[in-house]
Each structure stands twice: as structure tokens, then as C-alpha cells.
């Protein structure tokens, strides 16, 4: 029982403490340039959660982060670093949009399903086929191949809409694709006007369901066990008869499936068409989401909401207090820094104990747990 609590403390306490450190340092930075940190943070929080509309925007922004983060977490579990989720996201978005404005005779629900499946398939191919096979059979480092495929994917999507006669370009002045059929647009998260305005779609339900699916997949299936085994010790897994190359391809592919699903959900729920918004950087932020969540699927939900809140709240903060929204990116960096530097806490505790001679004997009692 004790170890369970220690585990929970480590998995929730450390990220919380890291965030707290970052918020304090951010507050000091804000105070140095002459603002009241409480006012600044107040505007950040109210911008993210202050009313239903803001809450809707925050949760809407969290959906792609949660979905991509889940995919990256699966790859991390197998010891693979999928740094190219951005491209998988855009290729998935492209496939979903293409299906979304073709087959217009179909009824809504199967059409939505088909569009999302298309996005997942495209993302899965982008993550699994080239980086997966190259890693499994040729030893090419997945950090490079996923990133290279990411650039190729984004250029491919750009190509689809940018040139005057590009395959998916809608005639007209702006480089954009046709809109998806109206009946493929995702419904609001709850049937409320405010969620329609803030573009919070049933995509959030999809993201929450995906977190449950990933948790079951990783914790309750043989597949998940073998993924974790490969991530824990590749050589031992090979001796245990696990087909490591197959799992490499599969995990990178599934990782891409989630990024592709994120692209599909975003297109069907928020954007409805492809346009020149390729600088989303969801892929990089989602890496941080799964890092902060320590690859826990439910942690990904919380971390996704947290970073989306920093984003929407940051816009409000800039308007209300005049502090640039990029402060939230500084906070993000600091949070990750302190998450990585988890050993800092025991080190500081040990340092404090050394400074207090009367506590020395007490420290010696607990010395075993600190080392």
C-alpha cells in the first residue's frame, strides 16, 4: 500500500511541484518588469477557465494535445521517441478533409467515421511505415526519420492546397481546400450554444475515450505488456521471444494513428477545411504533454488541458495585463526543466539537512531512502 501512495505521489506530486516552481519563477520575472504577479496570473486563470466560453476554448484546444500526447506516450512506453507527430497530424487532417468533402451522398455518421478512420490510417502510415520499418530493419534512428517524415508530410499538405492548380485547392484567392460536408461536422460537446461558439465539439468525448482505450491497451492487454517490455529492456524482450521489430513498427504506427486522429477531429470539429495554418506546433507541445503526464493516459488528459489553458489564458493575460503571451511558453520550459530535474528535490532536502547539525541523526535515519 505504501508503495502505491509513493507511486501516486511521484506521478502527481512531482509534476505539481515542478509547475509550482515554474509559476513562482515566472512570477518573479513578471515582478521584475514591473507588474503585479497576482494580477497577471489572475488574468491567465480567468482567461482559461473564467466563464463557459473560455472553458470551452481551453478544452477545445486540449483535444489535439491529448490525442497526440497519448500517441507519443505509447511510443515512449516502447522506448521510442516520436518527434514527428506534427506531420502525422497534418497528413491525417488532409485525409479526413479529403474524405469529408468527397462522398457527399453518405449519411452523416458513417461519413464521419470514414473520415476519422482515413485520418487515423494516414497518420499511422506516416508514423509506422517509413520510420517504423527503417528503425526495425535498418537501424535508422527514429528521432530523425519521424522528424524527416514530419517535414515531408507538412510540405505534402502545403502542396495540396498552395499551387493554383493543386489537387485539393478550392478555386479562389486563398490557398485552402473546399469545406467538408455539413453533416460531417462534429456536434458540440454538449448541446449548448456556448460550446458551439467556443468550438468545443464531441472531439473531447473522443479524446477522453481514447485515454481509456490507451490505458486498457497498455495495462490490460498482452500487447501492452509486450510494448512495455520492449521499452524496458529490448534485449531481454528479444530473448523472451517478443518480436521486437514488429513491435517497433506497430508502436510507431499506433503513435501515428493517434496523431492522425487528432488531425481528423480538429478538421471535423473546428477547422472544417485545410488552410495555411501549418505552424500549429501541436506535435512539440504534445511531447511535453506526455512527458509531464509521465506517459500515463489519464495524466495526458490533465496535462493536455493544462497546456491548452496556458495557451488560451495567455491570450487573455496579454490583453488584460499587457504581459506578452509568450510568458506562458517560458513557464512551459521551466515546468519541463523541473520535471526533468526531479532529483533536485531530494538533493535540496539533503542539503538543508546538512546545514542543520541537530537534524543530522534524523537525516541518517532516512538516508537509505534518499540515496
Amino acid at each position: 500500500m505504501n508503495s502505491v501512495w509513493q507511486n501516486i505521489g511521484r506521478n502527481i506530486g512531482m509534476p505539481l511541484l515542478a509547475s509550482l516552481f515554474a509559476i513562482v519563477i515566472g512570477g518573479i520575472i513578471v515582478a521584475i518588469i514591473g507588474f503585479n504577479p497576482l494580477v497577471v496570473y489572475g488574468s491567465l486563470v480567468s482567461g482559461a477557465f473564467g466563464n463557459l466560453y473560455n472553458l470551452g476554448s481551453t478544452l477545445s484546444g486540449a483535444v489535439p494535445l491529448i490525442l497526440i500526447g497519448l500517441g507519443i506516450a505509447i511510443a515512449f512506453k516502447a522506448g521510442l521517441f516520436n518527434i514527428g507527430a506534427d506531420g502525422q497530424y497534418w497528413v491525417g487532417a488532409m485525409a479526413s478533409v479529403w474524405i469529408g468533402y468527397h462522398f457527399t451522398g453518405m449519411p452523416g455518421f458513417p461519413h464521419i467515421l470514414l473520415a476519422l478512420l482515413g485520418g487515423m490510417l494516414a497518420g499511422g502510415i506516416w508514423g509506422g511505415i517509413v520510420p517504423g520499418l527503417a528503425k526495425a530493419y535498418l537501424g535508422a534512428h527514429e528521432v530523425i526519420t519521424t522528424m524527416m517524415m514530419s517535414y515531408i508530410g507538412i510540405f505534402l499538405v502545403e502542396y495540396m492546397i498552395e499551387e493554383p492548380h493543386a489537387p485539393m485547392r478550392q478555386p479562389g484567392f486563398f490557398p485552402q481546400s473546399p469545406q467538408i460536408a455539413t453533416n460531417t461536422q462534429l456536434a458540440p460537446f454538449l448541446p449548448l450554444q456556448v460550446f458551439q461558439q467556443s468550438q468545443l465539439s464531441v472531439g473531447l468525448w473522443i479524446a477522453l475515450a481514447a485515454a481509456v482505450v490507451v490505458w486498457i491497451l497498455l495495462q490490460r492487454t498482452t500487447f501492452g505488456f509486450q510494448v512495455r517490455a520492449v521499452g524496458f529492456n529490448q534485449r531481454a524482450s528479444r530473448y523472451a521471444g517478443i518480436r521486437v521489430p514488429l513491435y517497433t513498427v506497430l508502436t510507431l504506427g499506433i503513435s501515428g494513428v493517434f496523431a492522425g486522429l487528432a488531425g481528423g477531429v480538429q478538421m471535423l470539429g473546428v477547422q472544417y477545411q485545410l488552410n495555411d495554418s501549418f505552424a500549429s506546433q501541436y506535435g512539440y507541445t504534445a511531447i511535453v504533454v506526455s512527458l509531464l503526464a509521465r506517459n500515463n493516459p489519464f495524466g495526458c488528459v490533465i496535462a493536455g488541458i493544462f497546456f491548452a489553458a496556458l495557451n488560451t489564458g495567455g491570450q487573455n493575460m496579454q490583453q488584460v495585463s499587457g504581459v506578452p503571451a509568450s510568458l506562458t511558453q517560458v513557464l512551459t520550459g521551466l515546468i519541463i526543466f523541473f520535471v526533468a530535474a526531479e532529483r533536485l528535490i531530494p538533493m535540496m532536502r539533503a542539503w538543508v539537512r546538512r546545514r542543520r547539525p541537530d537534524a543530522r541523526s534524523h537525516a541518517a535515519d532516512e538516508g537509505g531512502t534518499l540515496a
Binding site: 530523425i144 517524415m149 517535414y151 499551387e163 519541463i336 526533468a340 530535474a341
Partner: protein, 306 residues
């Protein structure tokens, strides 16, 4: 084929290789000592910003370059401290530095210079054309109106190769990246050598960033590195963790980007050309250059039992 006779293509190749080669070689120093460095992107941004800021304040672009190096050194020192002293996960740390670098430079740009950006009167580093080089046929195409940093890059490639593979300190740094325990047993200071590698990496990455802000322009833009730090990472691995290899990979990327620029406006879709370097990299990794193996202790913190 007429494209290949276009001097702009080759001058562009060399010029576009600079912001990749500096951080790639910097990363080589870091990873050869055993510290995985994906923080180039963030450190480049920090370098780019402080180069412009100091160049503007002092009126001297060389002091701007110096400021970039100092700032890059300081940030990478923080990185090194967390990675070496408290054995933090180096990949996670690198991501942290990248976010921090992107955030702090955008933040400082807006709070110091306002939303209009850096002043247009900021002095930039000089462009140089050596007549001796410029008059050589073909080779002259490369060296038309290049920033001084281009020449510094060429020097750096040779010097860092010599340093890493032909000096005692270089040998020691590589030893620490391959087998820190053995190096420690022989009396080498593992931590200090790793600090050296990481900080050299940071300083070089910052020069790469400064090239973008005061080498070819005289302004700073939010996120102006545009993923070059990550491409430099690829160039370093592509180049098998060697200075010449990194430089070659940087040239390949430079060539492909330059080709895209030169072909702009022709019938060839530029987006498809732009894919070329990335596709080439995958092909090369998957077969042409064989397996690239990282230094054995790359990414593994060393904690001596004291």
C-alpha cells in the same frame, strides 16, 4: 541543368548550410562527451536574440556576436548542470530549453523592443568577398558576398576535426562519451569534460543563431530559427557525430533549400522540391551511409560512487 550553373544556387547552398553546421558541430562536441543535446533550437534562438540586442545597444555587431556566445554559453551551462550534476533526463531537458528559449526571446523582444520588433538601424556583421576566391571558376560561385561567419564556419570544421581527433583533450572528451567509468578510473574528470563539451556546443549553436539575426539580416523575429535546430540534430546524426560529416549533411540540406529558392516561380512545385532534403536523409540513413552509431555512453548520466 541550367539551374546547376546558377551561381545563386551555390552561394545559397553555402549560406544556408551555416545555421545548420554551427549547431550540428556544437552538438557533436556535446554528444561526443556523452550528453544528448537536442537543445540547439532553443539556444540558437537565445543567441539570435542577444546578438541583435547587443548589436543594437553597442552599435557593434562583433559585440553582438560575443553576447550571443556568452548567452548561449550560459544557457547551455544551465543545461549541463541539470544533465550532469543532477542526472536529469537529457532529452526532456533539451525540450525544456527549446521551449524556454522560444518563450524568453519572444517575451524579451516584446517587453524590450515592443511589438514592432527590433530597430531597423541595427548593424549587421559584414559581408566579405575575397577577390582571390571569387575569381576562381566555379568555386567563385560559392563565395560571392558571404557573411564573415561563412569563413568562420569553414575554419571551424577543420579546427574541430583536428581538436576532436588529434589532440589530447579531444581524445579525453571522446573517451568520456564512450566509457566514463574507464575514463574516471584513469583519473579523468568526467563531469568537467562533459561540461566542456556541452558548453562548446551551446556557444557554437548560439553562433548559428547569431548568423540568422545579424549575419544575413539585422533583425530578430519570433521563432526565426524555424526548426533549424532540429535539422541540425539530424545533420549531426547523419554526419555520424563527426565535424566533417555534420558539415557535409549541412551542405546537403543547404543545397536542397537553395534549390527550392532558385526554382521558385518555375513550373516545378516548390513544396515538392522542399521535401527533397528530408527524403534524401531518410534514404541515406536507411542504406547509403549505413548504421550510424552514437557514442556508447551518449545520454547516460555518470554518477561516480563517492
Amino acid at each position: 541543368m541550367t539551374v546547376l550553373a546558377n551561381p545563386q544556387l551555390w552561394a545559397g547552398t553555402l549560406s544556408l548550410a551555416v545555421p545548420l553546421a554551427f549547431p550540428a558541430i556544437g552538438g557533436t562536441f556535446s554528444e561526443r562527451t556523452g550528453v544528448v543535446n537536442i537543445a540547439m533550437e532553443g539556444i540558437m534562438l537565445v543567441g539570435a536574440f542577444f546578438a541583435v540586442a547587443c548589436s543594437h545597444w553597442t552599435g557593434n555587431p562583433w559585440l553582438g556576436l560575443l553576447a550571443a556566445m556568452v548567452a548561449g554559453g550560459l544557457v547551455s551551462w544551465m543545461f549541463a548542470w541539470a544533465a550532469i550534476r543532477i542526472a536529469a533526463d537529457q532529452v526532456v531537458l533539451g525540450m525544456a530549453i527549446n521551449f524556454f528559449g522560444a518563450g524568453i526571446t519572444a517575451f524579451l523582444l516584446n517587453t524590450i523592443f515592443g511589438y514592432n520588433g527590433t530597430p531597423t538601424s541595427t548593424p549587421a556583421l559584414p559581408m566579405v568577398t575575397f577577390p582571390a576566391l571569387a575569381n576562381v571558376p566555379v568555386l567563385g560561385w560559392f563565395f560571392h558576398q558571404q557573411s564573415v561567419l561563412v569563413y568562420l564556419m569553414l575554419l571551424l570544421v577543420i579546427v574541430s576535426h583536428w581538436f576532436l581527433f588529434h589532440t589530447r583533450l579531444g581524445l579525453r572528451m571522446r573517451a568520456v562519451g564512450e566509457n566514463p567509468l574507464a575514463a574516471d578510473t584513469l583519473g579523468l574528470n568526467v563531469w568537467r569534460l562533459r561540461y566542456t563539451g556541452v558548453i562548446i556546443g551551446g556557444v557554437l549553436s548560439a553562433i548559428g543563431g547569431a548568423y540568422l539575426s545579424i549575419g544575413i539580416l539585422n533583425s530578430f523575429d519570433v521563432n526565426m530559427t524555424d526548426g533549424r535546430g532540429y535539422i541540425a540534430l539530424a545533420a549531426m546524426i547523419f554526419g555520424k557525430w563527426t565535424p566533417f560529416g555534420s558539415f557535409g549533411a549541412a551542405l546537403l540540406f543547404g543545397f536542397a533549400s537553395s534549390l527550392g529558392n532558385v526554382l521558385q516561380g518555375s513550373n516545378v512545385p516548390t513544396d515538392l522540391i522542399a521535401m527533397l532534403p528530408y527524403a534524401l536523409t531518410i534514404l541515406a540513413l536507411a542504406g547509403l551511409v549505413g548504421r550510424s552509431t552514437a557514442p556508447a555512453a551518449d545520454g547516460i548520466p555518470y554518477l561516480p560512487n563517492r
